[in-house]
Symmetry: D2
Subunit: 377 residues, 4 copies
């Protein structure tokens, strides 16, 4: 087995998500980081790339340069990660797909539904993988929940309740802090703030775990800090194609919550609960029975959860390894194996459509709105 060649756009020094991609992509020895346009500032990007061990001729100043440089190489990249700010995802992802690269794009995949549909088409046309980094879905115990739902262990799913809330944007004095401000400014962030940032992880998770799709939404968006144009707190009720009812709360002003992403799935014959801050367990309650704690790595897990439990039971695995699970699955897929848990452009599209539907609903006082992308109606 030789290593795959991997390149990164964005995720420069000091970025939030960059380290998770590098730890995740490298941990399994499946990828070598051989090219990058890592920073908005070309010099900083080149310098950082070199410090990461990238050869000078592949330490690019921007993604266009990288596209040109990589397009016709013999040893061309096997995978390109796009970890830049949201507004740039579409253009970069489309360009690399069209040039024949597999792409892992950060969420949200695009700003508009039209763009997202276009990405889906380009991926289909070129036959390239376009994955979207809904990395929470790659935790082994999330896979276990999915497998349990699939095999009917909790019966037909009635209800999904999911929250993704933190308090890191609760300081009104930060209204002028550029690292925070842009997120609530439509000029830079599009039409949604907190829902597009965190809420869609929760909404993707609801689909991922239930194997069902969101059809209709009713949303209540709030700017708890009044100077913000976009929402910093949102409640979304939804209905899935199979009839499941959904409730999703997301907030960035919930002081005291660090990164509270959890999901509860309630079916006719059982319930499940998982929380991202203690990701190595699932709480499972059969109807009429006691709550049981399922541990990552315990004997008898589903194939997927067992495979992705890397270290022994009760040795915790965290966020970087969830990202690593996305990368091992991508490596396998690139090598031609089948993996069914990778979030793809279609999932990215559904999320973007859901954002737009929620925004419309919130503007209409919570009216129910079709959340399906036009191409899937």
């Amino acid at each position: 087995m030789t290593r795959l060649r991997w390149g990164m756009i964005g995720g420069g020094e000091g970025s939030q998500i960059g380290p998770a991609h590098r730890l995740g992509a490298l941990a399994d020895g499946q990828f070598d980081l051989v090219a990058g346009a890592l920073d908005a500032d070309p010099d900083r990007g080149r310098d950082f790339a070199r410090r990461l061990g990238i050869a000078p001729d592949r330490a690019y100043g921007d993604w266009q340069e990288m596209l040109e440089g990589e397009r016709n190489r013999e040893d061309r990249l096997d995978l390109v990660t796009v970890a830049t700010p949201n507004a740039t995802h579409f253009e970069i992802t489309r360009a690399f797909l069209q040039a024949g690269f597999h792409v892992l794009c950060e969420k949200p995949m695009t700003m508009t539904v039209e763009e997202a549909e276009e990405i889906v088409c380009v991926a289909r046309d070129t036959g390239r993988i376009c994955a979207v980094n809904y990395c929470y879905s790659a935790y082994p115990m999330v896979r276990e929940m999915r497998a349990m739902v699939r095999s009917g262990q909790i019966g037909k799913v009635r209800l999904v309740v999911t929250n993704f809330s933190h308090g890191h944007h609760a300081d009104a004095a930060d209204a002028d802090n550029p690292r925070v401000r842009w997120r609530y400014d439509p000029a830079l962030a599009g039409n949604s703030g907190q829902f597009a940032d965190c809420g869609i992880h929760a909404m993707h998770m609801a689909s991922f775990v239930t194997g069902d799709q969101v059809e209709r939404v009713s949303a209540d968006f709030v700017s708890a800090i009044p100077s913000r144009v976009l929402e910093d707190d949102a409640m979304v009720n939804f209905r899935m194609a199979g009839g499941t009812v959904g409730r999703l709360w997301t907030s960035s002003v919930a002081v005291g919550r660090q990164h509270g992403f959890d999901i509860q799935v309630f079916g006719e014959t059982g319930g499940l609960r998982w929380a991202s801050e203690q990701p190595n367990q699932v709480w499972y309650t059969p109807l009429g029975g006691r709550t049981q704690i399922i541990e990552k790595g315990e004997p008898g897990l589903s194939e997927d959860a067992a495979r992705l439990s890397r270290v022994p039971i009760a040795h915790p695995e965290g966020f970087p390894l969830a990202v690593a699970n996305i990368y091992v699955d991508l490596a396998a897929a690139i090598r031609g194996e089948t993996r069914d848990g990778i979030p793809l452009a279609e999932d990215g599209l559904r999320s973007v459509a859901a954002i737009h539907a929620c925004v419309s609903s919130a503007r209409a006082g919570g009216q129910w709105v079709d959340a399906r992308p036009p191409m899937f109606r």
Copy 2:
């Protein structure tokens, strides 16, 4: 100090809430149980009353008999508790108030807003106390939260998020079980199921802790078990008079949740969290600081929380003692002292109005509806 004379209607043998009232009323030695009409079945009620030590002439067959028997006694009752099924609260409570008794009524106080307004008026006219048993508000650490909000420790409150969910009605096979079925049958339960049963505790708590009132609601009601007419799962968004945003989820089909009542309050300068299944702590996070665990009984608590911490720090106090706190405050009020934490008829009225507003909103697809009782608009 002599003991007060206390009588009970409902709460018979095998009832759910009866034992909590008795444990609560007696624990402090403030009340003697001297009269009762405890059961729908007169004989069972009389028999149980005697076994509880009630004198035979005050062991009544029904509440009308009790009213007649007690009305003109020298040693008349100081307090009557009404712990019968919901539909009977109005008539019994009104009758006893009118006869000059103080009353502690179970929630919901009445079935209609008109009835609730009438109770408020009767209580005002007679000058009697009409309390409603929102006993969760009497936990010492709930009082601590209220005191902290009041004294500005978390700044202006932006957001209240509260859940009260369990899974004890999740078994579809129970659809024919009479102990469960009536709760979702409008003929017996009125116009709301789970929201009226558990949700209003959460809504009262939101008001109690913030010191603010619910003005508008938008509700999504669901019958997860389709044969039910009334909702077994509800999501309610609300707005309070002072601008606070509220989110309330309540469910009886959440398999694996035992009795998950929790509340989170997020203000401009801090956040608070409390959960009824671990009621002796509050989690407090100052903006930009670390989460701190406040313990019942620790030095420096607010006066109310300190007074209601009965046993030393880290010796847990549970639900019966929360009910006891309602009773000690009632005893003090009956003896003429001032207590400001007792939930009164006005609070009961607001809850009933909120139920009706939520039902209307849910029927109108989540439209925002005024939740204030007419007399408070």
Copy 3:
């Protein structure tokens, strides 16, 4: 059913354990508090007694006066609780037993093994109940653990690990605080500090849950605050008659632990865990299986645990109700019913013998010492 007549010695205003006895004894309506010598100061004691509703002629200045006053009454006391400081337990308990009263004595029952053996003999001779307030053993979920062990659900017990540690005496500046100082002064506290205060609860619990008795101990006693003569931290290894190995840690300098009393029982086919700060659950793991959470009040509990679950599942019950469980069982026993969970003088004796054995062992550098009372060897 008429109420039993109850009297109290000690437990005056401001005392630590007094309120728990009153809440516990009264909550079930089984006892009336009709007599008391509540305080070391006769006037404060009489005054407080009256405020608690005790008739003036039964509000005594000291226990001798109370003994004389109650000895020959028609309506003599059915039960006397002794909640005074440790050094007085022996004399008071013996005197009341000899006068024919049932007694509930606080732990430790006496200061010396000889005294404890004498109490056992007096109780046997007079046929009176002499109970000792190991109230933790009366939590419903502790009873559930005991029932599970008894019925063989975890197989032969190999190992018991129990801790009872807090940090409330960790402040060296408190060395001069009289409320703390006496506890580590042999003149006032006898030969053991923290072990005699908290450790013996844990040791009793180990016996109670396993149904086995401690035979040998090896102890390491430490004065973490060097000015203390008696230990404020102790580790005790022990062996039970049936071969079970025990490990017990107790500390009063464990800053950050509030009242951390927990017990873990490990058998050949399963393990159990219970913690006093979250007393309404037991964690049970069958060998090779998943951890299950057993809830107070769930269907299918053992008879004793079910009977002592007073309010519905997931409505927490705390310390005062554990004490109440001691009192309901005593009431039943006084009325002639059989109850097998009441800690008796024999248990009190075993604890006192264990304290002395641990002290000897600690002085001998941890040498193994016989912990059985002479009369049980």
Copy 4:
């Protein structure tokens, strides 16, 4: 920055600790895995090495072959990891150190104190790094605890209480299972079972966090499964040079504990608690104050903890990243930077000496025994 060349001995396919080393060493892009003798079976080892991307000429059949192959290469290894069974550590580690390689050896470093002292001397003589994989000490929040103790935030440390217990060897039927049996067989495991396997992590941690050394021990070793010669449960009391008292419990028959490694440190002015199954928080209680939750990645952490917090606050990091932290520090040290948190041969020696002291003490009924290695007395 070019990558360092890394080789592995042991950690073959299906081994327990192998994956953690690979994930850890590779995650940061500091090392390339270029050589290995991965398995007791030469063919399996070579085959697995190739599948991991190791060049065929560096996929060795055994460590002697590897030593010969690597000794004189131009591109010789920068670091060799020894992850074989315990009895082989000494010989392999010594040989590679003597050949001038830096070594990371698994714990316990050797079987005898003499061997361990020899490793220390060889490392000193050759000037090579000999690290020992006490990887728990590399969790960022463990580093934070260490920094807090160092800077005096909890005052002089009085007490350290640490447990490392699991129940994975509790099944008596496993007595014949070769994967378990050898651990309790002196011929294969040396003179200690569970203490040498898990207990020494806890003992190292006690030293690491307090910055102090164990001087004397008193141990109680038990074979809960009687057919075992070596202990499967152990309690160790200890004293450190600075006077700190230690209590350490370790067990492999604690059914229901998964991998319960925790440590509590109690000082004159505060207490700390950390648990390996929730490794991203430290609980800190200042004397007389409230417990605070310190989060990995929060602002204001000590330099070391901040540096080793790789992904944002509340994105959990687990065991493989703790191992990664050992490797990044080794990479820095190999490149000539100073890192003071790497566990070294001296630490490995102290652990081995402690094992032997505990065994002696346990055999002598718990007598206190000097635990210092002869060369440090």
